[in-house]
Structure formats: structure tokens, C-alpha cells
């Protein structure tokens, strides 16, 4: 019976995409994993590299919970394939602190109570890191507009904006 089952499974194999070795550089460390081309960067981070700080919200680029930084720019990790990001520098929420020293935005989010359930927070913070690096947010209205790709269902927006505003006022993008 066991052989029979093994045969049936192997007969199904051609329908599955072949796995390929992909080397991802995440938070400064290179890791090689075997995955199918259809694995999103988000799923690779969470399911293959056990970096579960990056969250899966909508999986369609509408909520921003999966935001990470690729080559310093914020993107939706659910809408890119892991295999496409080979060779790029990927930073996730786990890579922002320097040892025990939090990123200024992480500190500001705590001080401003910029979350309730916390599910959107890693995406909010990574998005805000990208916003600081872009240097386009000059006003509170700019912050709101340029953070609109991150949804917070708890509605912590007021404190999220305050946290980001404080970091900008203190000189922006320290800690890179």
C-alpha cells in the first residue's frame, strides 16, 4: 500500500512546478532555499525563512501589511516572486533594530501607542522607513497621503502619523 501511495504521489509530480535553489539576502544574511517560481517573497520570508514579522493581510497589495524594503525601497512583498528578488537587499521588520537598540520608528511607535492589535505594525513601520528615505513628506498631510498604502483596521492612524512626524522632526533617517 505504501508503494502504491508513493507511486500516486510521484505521478502527480509533473503537475507541480519544479523547485529551484534561490539565494535571498535578508537582513544582511544570505540564505539559499529551494522553492517553486510561484512562491511570493512574502511566503518565502514567512514559510521558508521563518521570518514571520512580515504579515500576510490581503495578499493582493491592498493592505500594506506585507511591506518590506528591497534595495532600500518599500514594496508589497505579496506582489513579487521570491525568485525575482534574488540578488537584491531585502530588509524586514526583524532587520531594523541594531541588537537591543530599536529603530527610531519602532521607539516612536511604542511611545505614541501607534497600534492596537499590532498586525499591521511591521508593515506600517517598514513603510515609514521607506517614506523617510524617500524624503518627500513635508507636511502632516503628506505623511497621510504617502502612508495610504498601509491599512490599520484598528484605526490607530492618528498615533501612527504622530509617531512618524516625531521621527521626521528629530532629523529623519538616522539609524540606517
Amino acid at each position: 500500500m505504501q508503494n502504491q501511495a508513493a507511486f500516486e504521489i510521484s505521478a502527480l509530480q509533473p503537475a507541480l512546478p519544479p523547485q529551484q535553489a534561490v539565494t535571498l539576502k535578508v537582513n544582511g544574511q544570505e540564505k539559499t532555499i529551494k522553492l517553486a517560481p510561484w512562491v511570493s517573497l512574502l511566503d518565502a520570508l514567512r514559510e521558508y525563512l521563518q521570518l514571520t514579522g512580515t504579515k500576510k493581510g490581503c495578499d493582493h497589495g491592498q493592505c500594506g501589511a506585507c511591506t518590506v524594503l528591497v534595495n532600500g525601497k518599500r514594496i508589497n512583498s505579496c506582489l513579487t516572486l521570491a525568485i525575482m528578488e534574488e540578488g537584491n537587499e531585502i530588509i524586514t521588520i526583524e532587520g531594523l533594530a541594531k541588537g537591543d537598540e530599536l529603530h527610531p520608528l519602532q521607539t516612536a511607535f511604542i511611545e505614541h501607542d501607534a497600534y492596537q492589535c499590532g498586525y499591521c505594525t511591521p508593515g506600517q513601520i517598514c513603510s515609514a522607513v521607506g517614506l523617510l528615505a524617500e524624503g518627500k513628506a513635508k507636511t502632516t498631510a503628506d505623511i497621510k497621503e504617502l502612508m495610504s498604502g498601509n491599512i490599520c483596521r484598528c484605526g490607530a492612524y492618528t498615533n501612527i502619523v504622530s509617531a512618524i512626524e516625531e521621527v521626521i522632526q528629530k532629523g529623519g533617517q538616522a539609524h540606517e
Binding site: P17, P37, W38, R74, M84, G149
Partner: protein, 343 residues
């Protein structure tokens, strides 16, 4: 998502050959729309050709005084490019009115104008959609069609094109440069997207073996008098119900040239040359703007849930034209409104 293979193209030639040799192959760059459509089984390529390594990212001056936007320049890099912001602020504003910062960092210029409709029925494989499955019918015709077309639609499809960038490119009369197995060709922007007719599965006139290499902006950028007005259900990160890209050339109070392109109302960026001609040589008055708006909407047809777009569209056109005129720093602007209420 269905199974597929993946390669990275290193030259334009191999990318085109690779695509032509596999019938169900697709190019991928930003991936923001294609990946999503693959997840919901609307797109099912068996082979993906990653073109992001190709040297098509630059934004450079053209000899005619215009600007060439590389097909692989991201929407963010394009909108914030010094020359685009300075000479083509209408385009920069339209790009920044679309999507989110994350998506603009991923999405490319070529991909932006190739993105597909966000019609609910196109996305829902349980319903009829001639664009997704030719011959299956159009569920939107008698369905929830609040976001759908009021101009240029057919009995086969009432989907709208979702791009903001494309609306500005239509107003600016950009040209799309493509290359394929037959060589290079240039497609005027007004001929790039198409109306649905009886073949709504074809969004545009790009051939299967062709790839967009760049988009050329003519020298005239309407930097002095322009507006991109986008009306939507929420203030940010939503598709347009109606959007208007307006560009004016003015001589004092007189309009010497007018461009008006509408988004959210048709299968392609909508322009009406007769309406634009109505404004040429005329004063920038509310009355003249009203005549142009009426002409643009003359053949508009609403469905059960979207008839509001006809009046909304007229008011949006008038307001965009007013905004385009008011950009002038002249204190004695001759355009006067009697009310401060939104149009």
C-alpha cells in the same frame, strides 16, 4: 496560481525571442498587476520572462525637446524625476494620484499602461466576462456597474481602464515605442488602447510578440496651465470614478490650445477633439467650459448604477479646466466664479 517556469532576460532580443517561442509566456517587471491576476486565476502564463535586468530604466532628453521615459523606469522614479516634475507636472501629478507609494516603487511605466481593468466581474472567475473569457457574456451590464464605463462601451464590455498615468499621457499626446520580431514601431497614444467593440479581450494594439521599450513625451508639457483632478470614493489609494487631465495653452485670457482626457469613464483614456476645438480661440469662461463639458458627455450612456458619472464628469471637466487656468500667477485672471462651493 498555475504552474509556470521562470527565466531572466538579459537582452531585449532574447526577451522577444523567448516570448515568441512560448505561446502562453508573459513578461514580468513590477508584477503588481500580473502577480495578482495569477493568484485569482485570471492570468495563467506557463512561462514568465523577467525583464527587469534590461537597460530600459533611463529617462533621457529627446532631440525634439521632448523626454523619453524608459519602459522599466518605475512610476515613482518617473513622477519624482526632476525633468518630469518640472516640464510635465501633469504627468507627475497623475502618477502620484494612483496606487500607493509601495506599488509606485514596484510598477513600471510599460506595465502601468498595460494594466488590466479592475471590473469586479473580470476578477471573479465565477461570472461571465467577455474580456476574461470571450463569448461568455458581460455580467457587469446588468450587475453592480457603479465603476463602469459611460463612453465608448459596447454590449460586450463596459469595463474601464484603471490607469491614472495613461490619462495624462493621452492629454500629452505621448508616443509608445515598441519592438518585436518585425522590428520597431511607434504607436501614438490615442491608438495604443482600444475600445471594446466585439473584442474586449484585447485591451490595446500591442502585438503578442511586442514589448514596450519607452514612452516619448512631446516637447509641449502644459507646465503653465494644467490640472489632474481625480474623484473617487476615498481621498487616497482608490481608483477613479472620474478623472480629468487638462492642459491649456493660454494667451492672456484666450485659450490657444486645449487638451482634455478623461479617466474612469471608458475602456481607454477618453478624448474628444471636437470639444477641445470648441475651446480654441475662446475665453476661459465658465460658460465655454460648460459647452466643452456638454460636448464631451453628449453621447454618454449610463447604466443602472453609474449614471451619476455623466453629471459628475461634466462638473469634473469644468473644475479641472478652472484649476488649469488658475495656475497662472497673474492676479488679474479673467476667470471668475460666483461661488466658492465645489463645482
Amino acid at each position: 496560481m498555475n504552474s509556470f517556469t521562470y527565466t531572466r532576460a538579459t537582452t531585449l532580443e532574447t526577451a522577444v525571442q523567448d516570448k515568441a517561442s512560448a505561446e502562453l509566456a508573459k513578461f514580468i517587471a513590477g508584477g503588481t498587476n500580473l502577480t495578482d491576476l495569477m493568484k485569482v486565476n485570471v492570468e495563467g502564463p506557463n512561462h514568465l520572462i523577467d525583464i527587469r535586468q534590461l537597460a530600459l530604466k533611463d529617462i533621457t532628453d529627446n532631440a525634439d525637446g521632448g523626454l523619453r521615459l524608459g519602459a522599466l523606469a518605475t512610476n515613482a522614479d518617473t513622477a519624482y524625476h526632476e525633468q518630469v516634475a518640472k516640464r510635465y507636472p501633469l504627468l507627475a501629478k497623475a502618477i502620484l494620484a494612483g496606487a500607493s507609494a509601495q506599488l509606485r516603487n514596484m510598477a513600471t511605466n510599460g506595465g502601468n499602461i498595460l494594466q488590466r481593468t479592475r471590473c469586479y466581474y473580470f476578477y471573479d472567475t465565477a461570472t461571465a466576462c467577455n474580456k476574461r473569457e470571450p463569448g461568455s457574456g458581460c455580467a457587469a451590464l446588468s450587475g453592480f456597474n457603479r465603476i463602469h464605463a459611460i463612453l465608448g462601451a459596447s454590449e460586450h464590455c463596459i469595463a474601464v481602464h484603471p490607469s491614472d498615468m495613461a490619462i495624462a499621457l493621452a492629454a500629452l499626446e505621448a508616443n509608445v515605442n515598441v519592438t518585436g520580431q518585425q522590428g520597431n514601431r511607434t504607436i501614438p497614444f490615442s491608438d495604443f488602447h482600444r475600445l471594446p467593440g466585439d473584442a474586449p479581450h484585447l485591451d490595446n494594439t500591442l502585438q503578442p510578440d511586442e514589448i514596450i521599450t519607452s514612452i516619448d513625451l512631446p516637447a509641449k508639457g502644459f507646465a503653465q496651465h494644467h490640472a489632474y483632478l481625480k474623484l473617487r470614493d476615498r481621498e487616497s489609494y482608490a481608483f477613479a470614478l472620474v478623472s480629468v487631465a487638462a492642459g491649456l495653452e493660454m494667451d492672456g485670457d484666450t485659450i490657444t490650445e486645449a487638451r482634455i482626457a478623461l479617466g474612469g469613464v471608458a475602456h481607454k483614456p477618453w478624448r474628444n477633439r471636437e470639444a477641445e476645438d470648441l475651446l480654441t480661440g475662446k475665453s476661459a469662461t465658465e460658460e465655454n467650459f460648460k459647452l466643452a463639458a456638454a460636448e464631451i458627455m453628449r453621447e454618454a450612456k449610463g447604466y443602472e448604477h453609474n449614471s451619476f458619472k455623466i453629471e459628475l464628469g461634466k462638473r469634473a471637466i469644468m473644475r479641472a479646466l478652472e484649476q488649469a487656468v488658475k495656475m497662472s500667477n497673474k492676479p488679474d485672471s479673467h476667470f471668475h466664479r460666483t461661488s466658492t462651493e465645489p463645482v
